[in-house]
Symmetry: D2
Subunit: 431 residues, 4 copies
């Protein structure tokens, strides 16, 4: 039986207060959708299938190079992180899997960790390696690169770490390795572009050799930061080439914040899928760069357009199943609240994308009727699908209003008492 | 009595078919809003007060420097443009005023033009001067600048043109002059920055002297294009300085597409209003630059955030009344359809901004509760306010579904028969 | 014998006045380079091998969607354009080949055109097709796409046009076809991304079938404009995929202005070359977008960094021989002057790249000494190589100071007398 | 007598080896400049007057939010930082003043610190306050703002800190306070724009009251980071308004990395100077955002264009004397080397700007001859002024090749022995 951190009685009480209005709104929306021959219960059921992984480090307060302002009651280790994740899952019902970051979350005993997670109703999503920081007693340094370092012994250290992460993930039940490196340069001339890329391909190939046959290897590109002149895997083009060269189960991971200004990300999603290389997502939002803001908080229509592609792709390729994760830096909010809220925003975008009249859209596209094509997207986007989100959660045992319920539970205050503040908490880095 | 281009019978028939569902949706939304103590009829009435001017040139098909692909039945003169504008107003009921562009729309007889407009139920909004193109037989050229040209005689020509536009506007009942210039440079070194800005201030001052006491002069800034290295009024900072130096009724006009990538436009709106210099808007949307795409088609949340500021400002300053205009380039759609649809998108953003719970928002801001502050904005944004838009239109005599009604009217096909295609139609330039 | 538009006597006189100083500067630089064991005459000879094609349309004054301000004496047809190009080549000695644009430059008699060019000492570089504009009596329209249009007959029209351009190029002695399309969309939803890309691949494949075995097909990507929401070949990633799918001699063309803000273009150059797909360049410069400013006028160090890659690539692959062309819009200058000056800027970047101490650079890279690696680039960049440019020109029969010599020749004034101004000159569009 | 960290004998030896070539190059350049009637000794003397402050924190290795990779022998306190700064000054001769950051550099005894600096031949430039981090035992937190916090007691804490920094600076002989705050928001709705700006004006006004009559107060704007949706002083427009409202000696500080993509910074420089509000600079370079890369390492022409404005302004206003500082994050280089090299790059830009033929430029501008106007700038920019930099240093007692001399001194290795590595060194933050 699953251990719960929030009283199920409290959830029921909170839901009870909101249930009548939900029924009323859900019914009104059902009737409206019915006019378009859409069955709301089918959509609700589809919404319930969407799962987005939580990054273990996301439940700690994030920071910038300038400062980190910790909140109260922050988790001090991977077990407390799982506790917090379980609260998010209990209330929101769409985040049952956790993405670990090694060495930040490296357990002494993987079996113990797995059992702890299972008791909380949690499993493990993609594993994340870390060769962008030096670990104590590591000997060699990643200051000038890891998988692409000019020295073979540094590359070997980074390769071995990735293989170790795979092994650990295998014990935990994960099915994917996400590789993001900070390798690049800060000065023109510092790095030889093609030699560095060649070394990347060689290193990635060695890691791929260690990949279990039912695993995926996900390559994450990023335009800049921590390197500020060039990055080895800087964009989807380089990521595609690397995935293509590395192997069939090597695919590209799209982080919404890792692109040049103005870039049409939904088109990149389409391109990668068309060539069989779309592997997963890191959801967040941004206004200026890799801001790691909460998903949908800046440009919710873009998030919808991304899901519009995903639903379209899925329609043509039922086996399509990318890895989804929230990757946000919660600098000014309670991380649990941000993750609950953001997961729902992702689900909202998905539901709206499900409601697009694709037959009509397709006809408008074929007939070059751009106004009605976009109006078809907007017709779905402008709907208020909140009742579906609420109903999906309630039916799954979650909270109609998960933020209110969380606050009512005083979980954070309880943590504050049990977890003394630690200004140098591990795991504050954000990928 | 107003001349109508679309049969009022048709509008009624079309509305009749949609009225039951509208009533149902409107009622459901009314009940939902009632829970927050919001009276839907009050909101509907407020929505009906929003007016957005149509640019005369907007009813022609736009183009790029590469090509223009004209549509059928395009208007060939200002009278036909007014005809098209009247269709937009008849169906959408929020665009009764037209913004003229001189010399494109220069009438032989202003009185005749005014009467023609009045018969269509139309009036005139801000006047636009044009010193970014050379006119036939103009003598001097604006190739190297107009209001900031190094030669005094060219500046005088440009100043005189602006004064002439004011005089014409006075006869037509306009109350504002919008000044946008293409002056700037394509090469470092081409123009002396501070001398050019000094010349601008001097020229603007002379135009201001000719401004009637109940007029506003609106300065429009633009980061680049047609000048590609520097622009004299490049951003809101320069626009503010120029407006401040020029006079009290000289204010800044914000075109949503005229900013550097990533810039927070809603904050600029706030700054200009706080210092008494927010004069008006050119609504459109953009993904890459000054794309002049349809309002709300790319980032509808940004449009909402702009109106969130405007509603807030208006709450504190009831006399606040900026000039609103759609400024879009309709390259691939029927311009009439785009203008109807875009005006509604602007109205949608305004209605959602009206629904923001400002008391709650203010408390969350004061208490530094960013999650709930943003959730308060999103609560309003996520509502489906389409029933309010439809009801506002229907009650004002417009169409519940104006695009469908327009297509049913076959107005464009009728124009196609009456207006032979002219590949070099005037007025295809877009500010 | 080559027909010359500028008196060779004048060139000699002009050079004579400058020769002493040139010898003095050349000698001083020679001694300085000698310290690094670089022989200046070898570098000068290498500089003389660089050839950059002139676009036929570049000798006309460019414009923007707002206006075009023609200069005096503009060429009225392809023959006069060739005359102007010959002046550029005569004075600058690095632009003997012309890139034609069809249909703008379509000759009645290709043989006559070829002979006319040969008499001027000119040949033909890559041919450019045009499916981004509708031609009179074309029947079908490219308003909604060309090679990717949803209707097969429009695609066939565009394919046939490209094949016709190849055939014409074959008669003229060209060896490449450059394909740039304006296809894309202005609204989310207007175009189905993957279906459109699929149609592109199919169309490109058909064109490739018609390609002579000693030709290259160059695909030019562009992020936006004329389409403002999405472009079918939007970036190097899509261009690579298309070139890869199309065929071995299908390669990517990099226009320096066709990228998202901040993108590291020199790294794209490296990636494409590493995977055998770098086919050519359109040189220009930009501050904001696809500004088509004169090469090196905004960021000359970037141009140097691009050539730093090219020289490095050439060092490893002697057969590497991309197609180089200037692609600029001369809106405010005499196009002949801009082309002379820009070609020299390209040559300047090449010469500086030749002077990079690659052995030292390589060691600094291997040893992770970023400061000295960048200092090695800067050491070459900071040199004043003007004497090499001047000597290279003089030795080849050109002018030490080609702009001064051009102005002294009064060629433009002569053209003004012979070519009455035409405000609607063809060929003002810029790719 | 000044204490020196590098043996003066070593410097003389190193210079001796390079002196002949320097004389030769200097002489060749002198003759070349003489043709334009420029006296190289005058320019050399002017170059020697340029002073750029060193930030105390700049001598520590910087980092990103992901990691910091410390170098060996890093300074552990303000005294060791001054030691390092003295090395930079000894070799480069243009950085005699240090900009402190409080509380990072807060001395127990200001007099002792002042004497220590004086013994090293160093003085103090602008003081920097810090309200973007919480200090231990601070009680209240800046998590949600400092000078603009919604709670008055937090604002008072921040104001009091700034006043304390002024008092400390007064004791040290500083003449300016630089105020940069991280205040802003991460979510739409989090902060009320105009209320926050109003609070800023009030707080800044209180600080200004405490400003000595011969001091300047410098406001530094920044578009984003650490706040990622909005920043209170986000651009030069807001900075200007704040400086204008605050007082006559309150001016704007321009950090080259704190702008939106593509923005024309040299024009901002001109605008602020024209309206009497240009107070100072933070020099660095960037490719993507606030990258804090070494000055001139990415776009040296832009740095030249900035100095082109500064020299022009100075020509018209001899009293013009902004505060110059290097503000860079040295993540992959020895900070001492980066600061020596960058200071020289700033000087190089200044020297080239001095060499612009302003009479000719002005005529080309007046006559609208953009090609020759830009060619006039390029003529100066393309010169190799390295001999002037070297001569200016040598004549002032510095090193002809300061990097080589520094490496020969083995100063860093000596520090490594005397200063054990501390992975959590203070002062790694970068403004």
């Amino acid at each position: 039986m699953t251990t719960t951190k929030i009283s199920t009685d409290l959830i029921q009480q909170e839901n009870h207060r909101r249930q009548d209005w939900l029924q009323q709104d859900y019914q009104a929306l059902a009737e409206k959708l019915q006019r378009q021959h859409i069955d709301i219960t089918t959509v609700t059921a589809q919404a319930q299938t969407l799962q987005v992984a939580l990054p273990s480090w996301g439940v700690g307060t994030g920071g910038t190079r300038f400062a980190r302002f910790p909140g109260i009651g922050e988790p001090r280790n991977i077990f407390e992180k799982l506790d917090d994740c379980s609260v998010i899952q209990q209330l929101g019902r769409m985040t049952p899997n956790i993405s670990l970051h090694i060495p930040w979350d490296k357990p002494d005993d993987p079996t113990e960790l797995k059992q702890y997670a299972e008791a909380l109703g949690l499993g493990f999503d993609a594993m994340n390696s870390n060769t962008f920081q030096d670990q104590a007693n590591q000997g060699l340094s990643y200051k000038y690169g890891s998988l692409t370092h000019t020295r073979a012994e540094v590359r070997q250290l980074a390769i071995a770490h990735n293989i170790e992460v795979i092994e650990l993930g295998r014990q935990l039940g994960s099915k994917a390795l996400t590789v993001w490196i900070g390798d690049g340069s800060n000065f023109p001339g510092q790095q030889h572009f093609s030699l560095a890329f060649g070394r990347y391909l060689e290193s990635a190939g060695q890691i791929y050799q260690a990949l279990p046959s039912d695993w995926n290897m996900l390559l994450e590109h990023k335009m800049f930061e921590p390197a500020f002149y060039s990055t080895v895997i800087q964009d989807w083009g380089s990521s595609y080439l690397a995935a293509k060269e590395t192997g069939e189960r090597c695919r590209c991971l799209v982080d919404l914040g890792h692109h040049a200004p103005n870039v049409n990300i939904e088109m990149i999603v389409s391109r990668l899928a068309q060539f069989g290389k779309l592997g997963g997502f890191h959801f967040n939002d941004s206004k200026y760069g890799d801001d790691d803001l909460d998903s949908g908080s800046i440009n919710p229509y873009q998030l919808f357009l991304v899901f519009n592609e995903l639903v379209d792709i899925q329609g043509n390729m039922p086996s399509f199943s990318p890895f989804y994760m929230l990757d946000q830096s919660h600098n000014v909010t309670d991380p649990i609240e941000s993750l609950i809220y953001s997961a729902a925003e992702v689900q909202r975008a998905y539901i709206k994308a499900l409601l697009v009249d694709r037959t009509a859209l397709s006809q408008y596209q074929d007939n070059n009727d751009p106004l009605m094509a976009q109006a078809t997207l907007k017709a779905a986007y402008n709907l208020d699908v909140e009742p579906i989100l609420q109903m999906a959660r309630m039916q799954s045992g979650g909270a109609i209003d998960p933020i209110a319920c969380y606050r009512a539970s005083a979980y954070r205050q309880q943590c504050a008492r049990q977890r003394p503040t630690d200004k140098h908490a591990t795991g504050s880095g954000i990928i």
